[in-house]
């Protein structure tokens, strides 16, 4: 589905509250948004899905404010990150997130391999902002500019976060035997 098709679906939602059009948009973007949130929450699939639902509901309610200057995915990821950030701030969840407990409790839909554990352990080494930057740039394959738009950060800050995260994660992954 191209950007033009996205815009057509968005206009249908705006003009005639077409839920079928919104259904198509959710189906298209549910996987990347849920994956982004799943990684941000370090594998808490229940929390990630709740946040993803909230993200799409917010997107639906505020779809009139989408001007089409950036891509719909950029706008959607911005809402997702804000939703995550608000939730974490409200629950003071940052300190309480414990990967191993979450793995046991909430990871019913995800098969945890050694690599999955490694990804969450590696992400734990990063600050929240670094985590978001690295996930957008490496996992979701976005440009630094797009990541800067989503996270409302200066481009230079994004680049700094990428460099720092690469160093921290790279060292950890080499220790774990990756890149041999």
């Amino acid at each position: 589905m191209s950007k033009a098709e996205d815009m057509l679906l968005i206009s249908q939602v705006v003009i005639s509250d077409d839920r079928l059009a919104f259904d198509k948009l959710v189906r298209k973007y549910q996987s990347p948004v849920r994956r982004f949130l799943l990684n941000l929450t370090l594998g808490d699939s229940m929390l990630a899905d709740d946040l993803a639902q909230e993200t799409f509901i917010k997107a639906y309610l505020n779809i009139r404010s989408f001007k089409g200057i950036s891509a719909f995915s950029t706008w959607l990821f911005r809402i997702a990150y804000n939703t995550f950030y608000d939730s974490m701030r409200a629950k003071k969840h940052f300190e309480d997130l414990n990967t191993s407990e979450i793995d046991k409790k909430n990871s019913s839909e995800i098969e945890y391999s050694e690599e999955k554990n490694d990804i969450y352990t590696a992400l734990k080494l990063l600050s929240e902002e670094e985590k978001a930057v690295i996930l957008l740039c490496y996992m979701e394959e976005m440009t630094h500019k797009e990541a800067a738009k989503i996270l409302k950060m200066p481009l230079g800050t994004v680049k700094t976060h990428v460099l720092k995260s690469k160093k921290k994660m790279g060292e950890f992954l080499i220790k774990q035997g990756y890149g041999n």
């Binding site: 189906r27 996987s31 639902q53 990804i119 490496y138 690469k166 994660m169 790279g170």
Partner: protein
């Protein structure tokens, strides 16, 4: 070193990138969407009603009209009144049915 880290990270994230199956997620989102109120120009109804009444007062001789209505009612057979009384609940019921259906569709 930086290039190596970059390659390791790219490979690592590429290997860990998996598509998340919908599994009813979209349906659940759609079910939770609040109903949007479609903006209607409701002000048009009373405004045009009042305008219509005002315009009609300019053309109608009300004394004559009322007396004609009164006499025509007197001349109607009782059967007509019975029909009228029976029609009212049917019309109200139909209006109620269509209003409910309209609410469900929205």
């Amino acid at each position: 070193m930086e290039t190596k880290n970059d390659e390791i990270l790219k490979d690592f994230f590429a290997n860990n990138k998996s598509e998340i199956q919908d599994n009813g997620f979209t349906e659940s989102v759609l079910n939770q969407l609040p109903r949007k109120k479609v903006k209607q120009a409701k002000w048009l109804v009373p405004v045009f009603t009042l305008l219509g009444i005002f315009v009609s007062t300019l053309f109608i001789d009300f004394n004559k009209l009322i007396s004609e209505i009164y006499f025509s009612f007197l001349q109607l057979p009782l059967f007509y009144y019975v029909c009228l009384v029976l029609t009212i609940p049917v019309v109200v019921l139909l209006l109620f049915f269509f209003a409910e259906r309209q609410n469900k569709l929205q």
